[in-house]
Assembly symmetry: C2
């Protein structure tokens, strides 16, 4: 991928340096594979730049563990031990976030998802991370657990220099509206159409 | 992403186990970001399964180094030292592959690209890796340096149990035809449309 050169330069009063370094809100949506894997691949770039990277995985099962989690934990440990790359934190919703007392108590997933968003807002206001990967975050918004307009408004006005990636199908139009980059992973062919089941190393 | 359940099961005489474990040829194409990052993200899943993962990056500049390369090298080293994950090898075309004597001699990129494909075929016949990431491989095929029909035929008949991912815009129809999974990264919005330049940690 070549380093990009813009076709037009907007009259926004920003210097090239300011414009280059503007924090991005990125969305990976669409029906096919690659939404989360591309987000986690992007996190490797951030890690290599020494960024503080945090994943918030909005999946309901605590047992659901993708290979990326193990790799990220390994890279985070490597950073702690040798200083290579940047710090990495992997947070998973499951039946409750690790920081939450509500863990496993009543399995109110809507409330747990809202707790996740509140924590993300708190951290963004404190500018704790350089890159936030909000994996599968589209779903709690789609299901009405978290208000799309509030998310869009907050992210649009987040302070400092914090990149954000949101993944999931059917990302709310309010969020698409304020995003800088939106990629749709479009299905051209999928092995499950041919009766193939998900397999380790590929699906998780 | 939930573990997939197929809608229909083909009458191909395979057991569920055989079908589940069938090796995949995956293609990431389309005009937007995410093709390579999703491939490298997938490699993390393979690494975590203990797979032998090899990247062949068909980019012309040896200077072009993405963050994923550093992360993969770190994960490969971690595997060697602690046994975590699987072995990882990152090969870059540049002015010549590391195994090639032609390195930097005449800058005949077409020949260097063909050398890369010959090496990949040799390794596939020897079943050396579990996952091959042929990054930006669409281009030498598009430019006619490597024959699309030959690639498709070889990959279709590759022995054993070897997964393959090919990335790049305008993947040849012959390759699409034999692929199991094809995802198009469709551009909905891109920050360069707003005059933003590529930035570190995001584009590389």
């Amino acid at each position: 991928m070549p380093k990009g050169v813009p076709e037009t330069v907007p009259d926004d009063g920003l210097t090239t340096r300011q414009r280059r370094n503007r924090p991005l809100l990125m969305v990976h949506t669409g029906e096919n594979k690659g939404k989360s894997t591309a987000a986690f691949g992007l996190g490797l770039r951030g890690w290599n730049q020494g960024w503080n990277v945090a994943v918030f995985q909005f999946v309901k099962s605590a047992k659901w563990k993708v290979g990326e989690e193990a790799a990220y934990v390994a890279l985070g440990k490597l950073h702690e031990e040798t200083g290579a790359g940047g710090p990495v934190q992997w947070n998973k919703m499951g039946d409750g976030w690790s920081w939450s007392r509500k863990k496993g108590e009543d399995e109110d997933h809507a409330q747990v998802a809202r707790d996740g968003w509140e924590e993300i807002k708190r951290r963004m206001l404190a500018e704790e991370h350089d890159l936030y990967i909000l994996d599968e975050f589209a779903y709690p918004v789609k299901w009405g657990w978290i208000d799309a307009a509030e998310v869009a408004d907050f992210l649009k006005n987040r302070p400092g220099h914090q990149h954000v990636v949101i993944t999931g199908r059917n990302v709310a139009p309010e969020i698409i509206e304020v995003a800088d980059l939106v990629t749709e992973m479009t299905k051209i062919k999928h092995p499950m159409d041919a009766g193939q089941k998900g397999q380790r190393g590929i699906e998780w």
